[in-house]
Amino acid sequence: MSESLASTSSSTPPASGGIALHSVTVTYQRHPALHHLSGRFEPGSMTAVVGPNGAGKTTLLRALAGDLLLQSGHVDGLAAQRMAWLPQHSEIDRGFPISMREMVMHGLWHQLGAWGWRRASHRAACDQALAAVGMTGMEQRPIDTLSGGQMQRALFARLILEDASVILLDEPFAAVDEPTSADLLRLIAQWQREGKTVITVLHDLRLVRLHFPQTLLLARQAVAWGPTDRVLTEANWLRAQHMREPFDEYAPLCEHTEPSACTASPPASAQPVKEALA
C-alpha cells in the first residue's frame, strides 16, 4: 500500500475509506497556514505529521476535525467516518470533582449520548479500556491527583472507548515518559491493525522512524509525503527548514490556479500526491 502511494495518484482513488485532501488552504487573517495541500491518507494507514514550528501541523488536524473553515479546497472521505481527536493542550479542567473512571466513561458518548442509561456492558468496556492503558486500580482517583502521564493514559482509554475510525493525535507524547509513550505507541499500532486511520503530529523524529510507516513532512505545503524512510531525508528536512516562520506582511496575492478547487465534487483525476522526492 505504502509503496504504491506515489504511483496511484493518477489512477482513480479507491472508493472506500481514505481521506483525500484537494488543494486545501487554511488562512489566519488571509495568511496561509496550510497552502494548497493535496494528497490522501489511505484507510488503515498510520501517518506521522512532522515539520518545523509554524508548519501548520495542528492546523491540518483542526481542519480535518472540522474545527477550522477551509479558505479553499475540500476534504473527501470524512463524512461517513467517526473521528476522535486528542488535542495537544486539552481544555480539561483538572480541578473538576470527578473520578478518572467517570471521565473516561464519556468516551462512550457515541453509544450513550446525553441520556443513555449506563449498563454493565458499558462499565465492562470502560474497565477493559483502563486495563489496556495500565490504569487498573486507579479508577476512583479524582482527576486532580493524576500525574501528566497518568492523565494521558486516561485520555487514551477514552479514545479506545470512542472507537472512531479516524484518530487524530496532536503531540501525544509531548509530556510523557519513555515507558508511557512505549505503551501508548503499542496501542496506536494496534488501532492501525484494527483498520483505523491514525494521523499523529510528532516532533520526535526517532519515534517517527521507529514506529510510523507513513510520514507527511509539512512546511505549510507538503514538502514530502509517503513512506517514512523516503520522506525523512536530510535534503527534505533542509527544504522544510527553509520555510519563513513569520508571515510576510507584504506578501502578494496567491495566484495559484486550481482547476477543481471550487467544484463541489472531486474530479476524477485528483491532484497529484506531493512529490515523494526523487
Partner: protein, 293 residues
C-alpha cells in the same frame, strides 16, 4: 427536661405557631433544592461572580414590571426573566462571536442593565417598594409566590437532570463536548436559563442583593468537604436548607431582618468549614506523619 422542652419551643415553636413562618420555611426549602445545585455548577464553571452580575441584571426587568403593574408577582417575574435572559443571551453571543471574553461582555451588559434599573426605580418608585425589591419578602410569601417557587424548583430539577451529562462535560472538557455532540450551546444557554429563573425565585424571597447567596455560599462551603459531584450537590442543598432555617429562627427571635440573617448563617458555615474542613486551610498545613508509599 425543661431545658430540652424550651429548646424545642424555641426551634419548633415559631413554625407551629405562625403560618407565615411555615410558608417562609417552605419557600426556603424550595429554594434550597433548586438554587444550591445551580450554585454548584456555577462554582465549577468558575461563574460565581457571573451569578452576582446576573442578579443585578434582573433589576430593570423587575422595575419595568413594577412600573407597569405595581408590586405584582407575575409582572415582576416576567420582567426579571426577560431582562436576565436578554443579558445572558446578549453577553453569550458577544463572547462566542467577537474578540471579547465572557467576563467582559457580561460586565458590559449587566452594567447597562443595572444602570437602567436604578434609573427606573429611583425616578418612578418609592423607597418602601425599593426595599422590597432589594431585600425580598420571605416573611410574606403568599400562595402565588410559593407556587412560583415550587414551579421553578421542579423545572430546575427536571431540566438539570436532563442537562446533567452535557453540563458536566461543558465544565470538564468543553472541547470534547463540542466534538462529540451538538449539545454544547444547549448546555450553556440552558444553564444560563436555569440560573436566571433561580435568581428570580431567590429575588422574590431574599431580594436581588441576597439571591445569589443561596447559590454561591452553600456550593463553596460544600467544596471544602467533598471532591465528588453528586455528594457535593446534596450537601450544598442540605447546607442551604439548614442555614435558611437557622436564619429564619434567629431573625424571629432577635427581630433582625431575615434575608441578611440567612446569608450570614451561610457565611458562618463557610468560615467554619474553611477553617476545619479537609480541603480548606487545613490542607495547607504540614501534617505530622506520612505514609510509606
Amino acid at each position: 427536661m425543661t431545658a430540652l422542652s424550651s429548646l424545642f419551643q424555641a426551634v419548633a415553636g415559631p413554625f407551629i405557631e405562625f403560618n407565615f413562618m411555615r410558608r417562609a420555611l417552605l419557600g426556603c426549602l424550595l429554594l434550597s433544592v433548586s438554587a444550591a445545585p445551580v450554585g454548584v455548577f456555577l462554582m465549577l464553571r468558575r461563574m460565581s461572580l457571573t451569578g452576582d452580575a446576573m442578579a443585578h441584571a434582573i433589576l430593570p426587568g423587575a422595575a419595568i414590571g413594577y412600573l407597569a403593574a405595581g408590586l405584582s408577582l407575575t409582572a415582576m417575574t416576567i420582567g426579571g426573566v426577560i431582562a436576565g435572559l436578554g443579558v445572558a443571551m446578549g453577553s453569550g453571543l458577544v463572547a462566542r462571536h467577537t474578540v471579547l471574553r465572557e467576563d467582559t461582555s457580561l460586565a458590559a451588559f449587566y452594567l447597562l442593565s443595572l444602570a437602567l434599573g436604578v434609573l427606573i426605580v429611583s425616578v418612578r418608585g418609592n423607597s418602601v417598594d425599593l426595599l422590597h425589591v432589594l431585600f425580598g419578602t420571605v416573611l410574606a410569601l403568599d400562595d402565588a409566590a410559593l407556587s412560583l417557587l415550587g414551579g421553578i424548583a421542579v423545572t430546575t430539577l427536571v431540566a438539570g437532570a436532563l442537562l446533567f451529562r452535557p453540563l458536566v462535560l461543558e465544565c470538564l472538557d468543553p472541547g470534547f463536548l463540542r466534538r462529540v455532540s451538538a449539545l454544547s450551546p444547549l448546555a450553556h444557554y440552558g444553564f444560563l436559563g436555569l440560573l436566571v429563573i433561580n435568581l428570580v425565585a431567590g429575588f422574590h424571597a431574599l431580594g436581588t442583593l441576597m439571591a445569589v447567596g443561596l447559590m454561591v455560599l452553600p456550593a463553596a462551603t460544600a467544596r471544602f468537604w467533598l471532591r465528588s459531584l453528586l455528594p457535593l450537590i446534596l450537601l450544598a442543598s442540605a447546607l442551604a436548607l439548614l442555614a435558611s432555617a437557622s436564619g429564619l429562627l434567629i431573625s424571629y427571635h432577635a427581630d433582625w431582618p431575615t434575608s441578611p440573617t440567612i446569608v450570614l448563617c451561610l457565611g458562618v458555615a463557610y468560615l467554619v468549614s474553611m477553617l476545619l474542613a479537609p480541603f480548606g486551610l487545613r490542607a495547607q498545613q504540614r501534617s505530622s506523619s506520612h505514609l510509606q508509599a
